[in-house]
Homo-oligomer: 221 residues x 2
């Protein structure tokens, strides 16, 4: 194991690169963030990025899965605990889905709110490798939450549960992404808040929407 200092959780250059990549990819997009700029932000030579991650796509993928993996593990652990205890409510399920993301969004050491922008940009990119990355990172987790929603709301069919899940995620990402629009549109009444305020508002909105989808499904034409 590489020596260079002591043992526990020292920030290595490899992690510094991922941090810098996260900030720049989120701010400027995949093509807009250059390997040169990431290297400079991380304080290393550009060639080191290629040494550790081979290509720009490799760096992006490593940066992406680091966060998504950590958050999804927490999400699924929370869901499993609730399912083991009994039948969770919609509110419980939505909170298990959103709390880990929103908490991470308020913790600069875990990427802050930048990651929300990144997911939005990545999942809407053209059909190439970025969509595959989103699918690989999120689909299995999403399927479990969709199933849990159907279990909590008997009237909710598969299609409505899927759309509902995507609605909830979209609304939450919109809330988290640091666009500054809420502050501006509300004349300062909707400033950045603590985790609990954002979470409870998102849960209230999402749970009510999901219940409505379950009791009054749209005309299935």
């Amino acid at each position: 194991m590489a020596g260079h200092t002591a043992g526990t959780a020292k920030a290595t250059a490899k992690e510094d690169i991922l941090d810098a990549a996260e900030a720049l990819f989120a701010a400027r997009g995949f093509e807009g963030a250059s390997m040169r700029a990431i290297a400079e932000a991380a304080g290393v030579a550009q060639a080191l990025l290629h040494y550790h991650y081979k290509t720009k796509e490799g760096l992006f993928e490593a940066m992406f899965t680091r966060r998504s993996g950590a958050i999804n593990r927490i999400r699924l652990a929370r869901l499993d605990v609730m399912l083991a205890r009994g039948r969770p409510t919609v509110e419980d399920i939505v909170e298990a889905l959103l709390r880990p993301t929103i908490e991470a969004g308020h913790d600069p050491s875990r990427g802050g709110s930048r990651f929300a922008s990144l997911i939005l940009a990545t999942s809407t990119a053209e059909g190439d490798w970025q969509k595959g990355l989103v699918a690989r990172s999120y689909d299995s987790m999403a399927e479990r939450f969709i199933a849990a929603l159907m279990g909590a709301l008997p009237g909710l069919g598969r299609a409505e549960a899927t759309w509902g899940y995507l609605f909830v995620v979209g609304a939450a990402l919109t809330q988290m992404a640091p666009t500054g629009r809420a502050d501006r549109l509300s004349g300062g009444a909707a400033r950045d808040e603590d985790t609990d305020a954002m979470l409870s508002r998102a849960v209230i909105f999402a749970a009510a929407g999901l219940k409505a989808l379950a009791t009054a499904p749209p005309d299935d034409h």
Copy 2:
């Protein structure tokens, strides 16, 4: 007026460029779409893009405001009609907000669903000119709809109305953006549908969420 053929609404090269730019900016992002690729897709020389729109940013802005302006005019016209007739319901307001976008999303001649990806990408871009473009294009319309929501839901404060508006827009954009995730996650149960099915589902979800925000606001700490 430039001659070259007859009078009414002939598709000129200038419009062809905007169409090609829209498709490529949505698919690959601002930096990912090159002027060369846009020119080739439009079937014109690259220099013509600079002749008509000066810079790449100029082209992007022209392409963006063409769609957003058209859609927002329809939105506000619908809202005005409803407000003149009496006090619209939340469902009415949400429908006035979402129907023009969703209808345009199903009409390839008006940009199809690509524009949804574009808004998501643009509004989450870093603090430069792209955010200003979103603000200039959407804020005044958004303020009027937020005010209308507060009028329809007496318990809804300014901050909650603003967040609620952003939730609704985020959920709708998530539904419209052609990511293919709904189809995949639902095992094919949530395929692309007609305008009315998508709209009624979004309205049901959004209206219920907004009502819940009005009656049970999050702890304001």
